[in-house]
């Protein structure tokens, strides 16, 4: 897009806030719609109070093939014409804006509360609510033979809370509505108000299984705003930690999927190997999920030579052990029969609704921040983007398995040649009136932290977008026409974060 070219917005490069154009609403919509038509994708769209009765809507877009980012904004009052009818990937963002900022996206086809909380980002002069947090109406199909199944928010297993409402005809799912929001903690408000040391801890707690991903994105944004430059060593350790997190979670998912189809051998062995990956993060940081490792300016703990040698031994052994188990799983006919053709997300849906991460890659969309918008160690060491084309559960499992192998090789390579340097450098005060987007390819997909600073160098707006925020809709569209008994398997193949969505 020509309109973004002068901005020089890149992943983790702070630009002055005034470089983000303030367009008239019509022009703003046009910019976004033109960009989406030209294969740009909505990274995030959020509102920021500006004055007494105005909200500034900010949109960040990405063109993955060109590796470009762009941002635009507009000022709106109580309402504006919604983007969703023309740009479906904005649907959740506009529900969020209505709820957070009390701004009405006029003509939104599916406007209902997203997390059921009171607006915490509304302009000071606004009192009226757009959405009543208590009133949530479910879509319902009428008919003699249609039955409704309600699952959750309390589940039989130890998983996060969410309410799933199925409209089913016999065993066939006609419609699935997912109501989230049970874990809303006010993360964005916290990140905007608490001191930076605490903000770091909040960022680590956005999604319990994506500690490294969110912490790195958070630090990426803070470091860009503070002009702090990490050493190559810190970048390498962060890359290693990120890929270890990916390894642990992908291997865990492979095991969980095997468990869901009652294939015990793979479930048991993958489960054990997931633990070993978490233990490596523990060696590195003292915490199995890597809390305390990523800190502004670098990493809290250095990776010593003995640690590196031990981890290489462990990973080499793991590489030899993983393959036979994966082959066992992929070559067992009954497992293939369960995964194949279930829960299909089509490529067109993916483009239209803006899915990210392994979900998009399983539909032959090569979206990977490490490759498209490289940062840190990934500017020097490349991991090939893994894609599959079928978009079904099998494709998502396959993408995970290939990514496991590639991440493992990457970590081995990095451990063999760790650059020298201080693990952590100082990270000072934030520059005032700046705008930064930090993208990170977490194991679920693109994590985006967008930060805007105020004239005093404080955080004015901190927008967190977890990949789950984009992808929950994928679960709903993938399940249509499938068997209700396949829902747990489909859901597991996405394995989205509830906390990451609810913030």
């Amino acid at each position: 897009m020509r309109r973004f070219e002068t901005q020089e917005l890149r992943n983790r490069r702070a630009i002055p806030l005034r470089a983000v154009a303030v367009e008239a609403v019509d022009r703003f919509r046009e910019t976004i719609l033109d960009a989406v038509a030209a294969e740009w994708r909505l990274v995030t769209l959020f509102g920021m109070p500006e004055g007494d009765d105005t909200t500034r809507l900010v949109a960040v877009l990405a063109h993955d093939a060109l590796g470009q980012l762009g941002a635009t904004s507009t000022l709106v009052g109580e309402q504006y014409p919604a983007l969703t009818p023309d740009c479906p990937q904005a649907h959740a963002f506009e529900r969020e804006i209505a709820e957070q900022c009390a701004v009405m996206p006029d003509g939104h086809p599916w406007l209902k509360p997203l997390r059921r909380h009171l607006p915490d980002h509304r302009p000071t002069g606004r009192t009226a609510l757009v959405l009543d947090p208590e009133a949530y109406s479910f879509f319902r199909i009428d008919g003699e033979e249609v039955h409704e199944v309600a699952v959750g928010p309390v589940h039989a297993g130890i998983i996060e809370p969410a309410h799933f409402r199925f409209q089913a005809h016999g065993e066939e799912v006609l419609f699935l509505e997912i109501m989230l929001g049970y874990q809303h903690r006010g993360v964005e408000r916290l990140l905007e108000t608490v001191p930076r040391e605490r903000g770091m801890l909040v960022a680590e707690s956005i999604a319990g299984d994506t500690v490294i991903g969110h912490a790195s994105a958070y630090c990426g944004a803070i470091e860009a705003l503070a002009r702090s430059r990490k050493t190559p060593r810190a970048q390498a350790v962060r890359g290693i930690a990120l890929e270890l997190e990916r390894l642990a979670n992908h291997i865990g998912d492979l095991g969980a999927i095997a468990g869901d189809v009652a294939y015990q051998p793979a479930a048991a062995f993958f489960g054990r190997m997931r633990g070993e990956c978490l233990n490596m993060l523990m060696t590195l940081s003292g915490n199995r999920y890597g809390r305390g490792l990523i800190r502004p300016g670098g990493v809290g703990f250095d990776l010593t030579a003995t640690m590196a040698a031990a981890m290489r031994d462990l990973l080499t052994r793991l590489r030899d052990e993983l393959k036979p188990v994966a082959m066992l799983m992929f070559e067992t006919a009954t497992v293939q029969g369960r995964l194949d053709g279930i829960g299909v997300v089509r490529r067109a849906q993916c483009l239209e609704l803006g899915f990210v991460g392994p979900v998009a890659r399983a539909c032959d969309l090569p979206r990977d921040v490490r490759h498209d918008h490289p940062y840190g160690i990934f500017r020097f060491a490349h991991i090939p983007v893994t894609t599959a084309w079928a978009g079904d559960v099998y494709a998502r499992v396959l993408v995970r398995w290939i990514e496991v192998q590639r991440s493992l090789e990457f970590v081995l390579e990095q451990l063999a040649a760790l650059p020298r340097g201080e693990p952590r450098v100082s990270c000072g005060a934030l520059q005032p009136n700046e705008f930064v987007v930090a993208l990170e390819e977490g194991w679920r997909g693109e994590i985006a932290h967008t930060v805007i600073t105020d004239p005093h160098g404080g955080v004015r707006r901190h927008k967190v977008t977890d990949p789950s925020f984009h992808n929950w809709m994928a679960v709903a569209v993938a399940l249509l026409g499938n068997q209700i008994s396949d829902f747990p398997l489909c859901n597991k193949s996405f394995n989205l974060s509830y906390a990451g969505h609810d913030l």
Binding site: G157, Q264, A268, T332, S485
Partner: protein, 303 residues
């Protein structure tokens, strides 16, 4: 009922809860885990009978009757089996129909109890249970028909008692096919992999387990014990086909029964460790496949 009958029945009632334990243990060992103790179900039953039951206010007497009828019908069905290898305590000509009927009665009571809760999960489970049993029941009758043809006797005492040895001498192929078919039925009727997953916690995928979600305490103990007994009954059918023991003394015959049941448990465990559960839509095909084995057995006998 003679002493031998009573002993054999008592042994069956006592060892039944070990059977799921053996299957689970086998599966754990084969998949590289330590697994729960073989006697876990005894501990669970002991724990459950000491607890109180919780009843939803939407349930009626139907819900409370379910577990009792289930266990009663299964014990009655056990009386029709020649557990000592010779004859049954309460056998009569044509009792195979009564046997199938008693199993159906137990299932009916349990399904009604599930529906009585008004839960959408349990309604769904009930519908699945009934659908799949409508495939399993004809398959059971085909097995029985093959056994009747092979042994020339229309009572379970004859089909699984003394005439079995003779049947193996002239219809070994049919007998093997019937035995295999019964094993498929055992997996289907007792919600084992590949038909159902006894270990799952996912309500939406369950068949049998979901109907009993609302039962608790002693009621749940009755159901769990009933499920174990049902597994043992199908195991006894298979042992009766494969291990004719009419020539053995009564204690030895009962010993062989226990050994045979343990082997069935191991076989179930092995199946569960080498394959995944099939799609729900393919369960009828799987059961029908089992029935076709019995049908081949019949064809071989009719030629």
């Amino acid at each position: 009922m003679s002493v031998a009958h009573a002993t054999a029945l008592a042994v069956l009632l006592i060892v039944a809860p070990a059977l799921p334990g053996i299957a689970t243990k086998t599966r754990a060992v084969l998949t590289g885990r330590r697994g729960a103790p073989v006697l876990q179900l005894y501990y669970d039953l002991g724990k459950l009978v000491r607890k109180g039951s919780v009843y939803s206010v939407t349930t009626t007497w139907v819900f409370r009757t379910g577990p009792v009828v289930l266990l009663g019908s299964l014990v009655a069905a056990a009386l029709l089996l020649p557990l000592d290898g010779r004859d049954a305590p309460a056998g009569f000509s044509g009792d195979l129909v009564a046997f199938a009927g008693l199993l159906a009665l137990g299932r009916f009571a349990l399904v009604l109890a599930g529906l009585d809760t008004g839960s959408s999960f349990e309604g769904m489970g009930a519908s699945r249970e009934v659908t799949f049993s409508s495939f399993a029941e004809p398959a059971l009758f085909l097995c029985f028909a093959a056994l009747v043809l092979a042994t020339g006797d229309a009572s379970l005492s004859g089909m699984l008692g003394a005439p079995v040895r003779v049947a193996w001498s002239h219809a070994a192929a049919s007998m093997s096919l019937v035995g295999l078919s019964l094993f498929v039925l055992l997996l289907a009727e007792n919600s084992r992999v590949p038909i159902d997953d006894p270990a799952t916690h996912l309500e939406l995928t369950m068949i049998h387990e979901v109907i009993v979600l609302d039962h608790s305490g002693p009621d749940l103990a009755l159901i769990l014990y009933g499920s174990a007994l049902k597994l043992a009954l199908f195991g006894a059918l298979i042992v009766g086909v494969f291990l004719p023991r009419a020539d053995l003394a009564a204690p030895a015959a009962t010993g062989v029964l226990v050994l045979g049941l343990a082997l069935v448990g191991v076989a179930v465990g092995v199946v569960e460790s080498v394959m995944a559960r099939v799609r729900l839509t393919q369960v009828p095909a799987l059961i029908t496949g089992g029935a076709v084995l019995a049908l081949f057995g019949i064809i071989l006998l009719l030629r």
